[in-house]
């Protein structure tokens, strides 16, 4: 480096270099924004024929008949499938995840506090197609042969637990697969949140004579309340966007069936199954319309999670800890 050179603002090389870097870097940032805009535009433009044909009623119409001459499309069946699979998976995963996080922050012996979080995060790294492969060939048959008949005979009076599926591909299998996929997300975020609870609050509660559970219930959980809500919403967003593993195990059935053991379909899995084979323009546009609905929901989840985090942080008078959710 030539230390003798003093900064001269009129130095052309000085200005040119700065301008060049700013230009190139700015162009990159602009390109990213353009790509995002293009995604939104392409999805809306691609679904226009279907939007024009069906309007907003498409969203809740339960029909998908591709027979030429009788074509009728609607997202209702898949919206139902997405809602059932994602919400029930969250219902199963959230308590488990919070339990794991509490275990790791409160109960685990020292030698477990390193490896166990790493193991749980490894679960998140398993590709969805591998979980789907396991779902088709291992989980499905086990559920079909053992779990579903047992649940049906014990709780068959509830319409949710109808006759066991014939092939192992069912909404229930998809729910188990999704639970495994969102458990690590909710768990690792919750663990970060619990680690962030100030020691004084914890120790204060314990000093008052509470049991550990009461301390958790009274101090840790309320403190981390908004963060946990955000984590759950992020997990939900992950579940609704999952197309591959779900398409492998859900059995591809149109219509609303209340039994968890029947087949079904979600927005993402329907697109994965049918998009390449879309014959008429209306069918392709309707599939993209499904993608539009999916996109809107995913973005809403993301925005909701961010908003909850910011509101919770403001209430606690703490700066937003983006690190935990970033």
């Amino acid at each position: 480096m030539q230390a003798a050179e003093s900064p001269r603002l009129s130095d052309r090389r000085f200005r040119a270099g700065d301008a060049a870097l700013q230009l190139v870097a700015g162009a990159a940032a602009l390109a990213a924004c353009v790509v995002v805009g293009l995604i939104v535009w392409k999805v809306i433009a691609g679904s226009l024929p279907s939007i024009r044909a069906y309007g907003v009623h498409f969203v809740w119409r339960v029909a998908w008949n591709p027979v030429l001459g009788h074509e009728v499309y609607g997202a209702g069946s898949f919206l139902f499938g997405t809602a059932v699979t994602s919400l029930v998976a969250l219902l199963l995963a959230a308590p488990l995840a919070i339990g794991v996080a509490l275990f790791l922050t409160e109960l685990a012996p020292r030698f477990l506090r390193g490896p166990v979080p790493a193991l749980v995060e490894t679960l998140a790294a398993i590709p969805s197609v591998v979980i789907g492969l396991w779902g088709i060939l291992v989980l499905g048959p086990v559920l079909r042969d053992h779990v579903e008949p047992a649940l049906h005979s014990a709780l068959g009076f509830i319409p949710l637990f109808g006759p066991a599926s014939s092939s192992g591909s069912s909404v229930f299998t998809a729910i188990v697969v999704l639970t495994i996929m969102i458990l690590p997300i909710v768990s690792s975020i919750s663990r970060e949140l619990f680690l962030g609870v100030p020691r004084e609050l914890r120790e204060g509660a314990l000093a008052l004579g509470t049991t550990r559970w009461e301390m958790v219930r009274g101090v840790v959980l309320p403190y981390a309340r908004s963060g946990i809500a955000a984590a759950m919403i992020l997990g939900l967003g992950r579940a609704i966007g999952e197309a591959i593993a779900v398409s492998q195990v859900i059995g591809s059935v149109v219509g609303i069936h209340w039994s968890l053991f029947s087949g079904g379909d979600t927005l993402g899995s329907k697109i994965a199954e049918s998009y390449q084979g879309g014959t008429t323009k209306l069918q392709v546009a309707s599939l993209i319309y499904l993608g539009l609905i999916l996109l809107v929901f995913s973005l809403l989840m993301n925005v909701a999670a961010q908003w909850i985090v910011r509101r919770g942080a403001r209430r606690q008078g703490v700066g937003t800890n983006r690190g935990a959710l970033g």
Partner: protein
């Protein structure tokens, strides 16, 4: 020039590497690749063609079995060089494809496969009963209608689980064409198409998906190209034709059905041999021709002509062991005339 920092050096190297790969990669496109997509029905035969085609002309055949509907869409969007479909193009699809021709290039049958322990292969079945099964009206294997067709066979009370195609499939078209012809009730409620509104059953992608679904589901019934039944050692029905005989999806049954329409339609080249009339006693009623859809003006016109000529002549000899009947002479003549139209 001042010494370049480590970062700049690494970025420069990376950029050069990227450019080098790009140029090297794009430069190697002189090896002729023919890409196609569509029917899973014809995929077994096409798989046999890859190696001999490569040694005959040096062509590299890349085919993806995404279902007939997908093949039509892909060739319409010109994302592939040719499409394969068992369902003939509708006038709308012809128009959308903008100057495509449809050429029958293979002939085989759809086997109705089933998975039931303790019963023999080639149980008897007819179209009307099959339609009721797929409509969800017959739910058990020991239903009287099935027992009537199979006197003397001990059928268990196992639940029937139907498996259909979830993607847009020419095999579905062939199967529902047969059901519509055999059952007026099916025709009015569900009709025929590459995809229908199945009232019951689970969906699987591709013929191999259906084969997998049936083989993993006790009591399952599905429909696939007969080559898949052969490959996976699956049981299939002997279907009753109009004359009352129970025919199997072998070469004789397929040839018997092909006699139902000897000459292709003069404008569209389509042939319909499903559920042939009574006089065709040997016919297997769920047979079908399958078509290749090609644009008449294509950048790979010469290669496509060579490929298709080979396919409808030499290529047919690879068919019989997979139960593809070589196409009849009358169809071959029309096919060759149409291939010559590709410029």
């Amino acid at each position: 020039m001042p010494k370049l920092g480590t970062v700049m050096r690494t970025t420069l190297v990376a950029a050069i590497a990227a450019l080098a790969t790009a140029t090297a990669a794009t430069a190697r496109t002189h090896d002729t690749t023919l890409t196609g997509a569509g029917s899973t029905f014809v995929a077994p035969l096409l798989a046999q063609w890859i190696q001999p085609l490569g040694s005959a002309y040096g062509y590299s055949l890349q085919y993806s079995a995404i279902g007939s509907g997908g093949g039509i869409a892909a060739v319409t969007g010109r994302t592939v060089d040719f499409g394969a479909s068992d369902a003939p193009l509708t006038p709308d699809q012809f128009a959308a494809c903008k100057g495509c021709v449809q050429i029958p290039w293979a002939l085989s049958a759809t086997a109705i496969i089933y998975n039931l322990d303790g019963v023999k292969n080639l149980l008897h079945m007819n179209g009307a009963t099959l339609a009721k099964i797929f409509a969800g009206q017959i739910t058990k294997w020991n239903d009287p209608a099935i027992k009537k067709l199979n006197k003397g066979v001990d059928l268990p009370g196992q639940q029937i689980a139907t498996v259909h195609r979830s993607d847009n499939s020419g095999t579905t078209y062939n199967f529902t064409d047969f059901l519509s012809s055999a059952s007026p009730a099916w025709k009015s409620k569900y009709g025929k198409g590459v995809s229908v509104n199945w009232p019951v059953g689970t969906g699987q992608r591709g013929s191999s998906g259906v084969a997998a679904g049936v083989s993993q589901t006790p009591g399952g019934i599905g429909y696939v190209d007969v080559a898949y039944a052969l490959k996976n050692h699956l049981k299939y029905f002997a279907m009753q034709n109009r004359s009352g005989k129970f025919a199997t999806p072998g070469l004789k049954g397929i040839l018997g059905a092909a006699a139902a329409q000897v000459k292709p339609d003069p404008t569209t080249n389509e042939l319909s041999i499903v559920d042939p009339p009574t006089k065709f006693k040997l016919a297997y009623p769920v047979s079908t021709f399958t078509y290749v859809i090609v644009p008449t003006s294509s950048p790979k016109a010469a290669e496509l002509r060579k490929f298709l000529f080979w396919a409808v002549t030499r290529g047919q000899s690879y068919g019989p062991k997979l139960l593809f009947q070589p196409i009849p002479k009358s169809v071959l003549v029309v096919a060759e005339k149409t291939i010559a139209k590709i410029k």
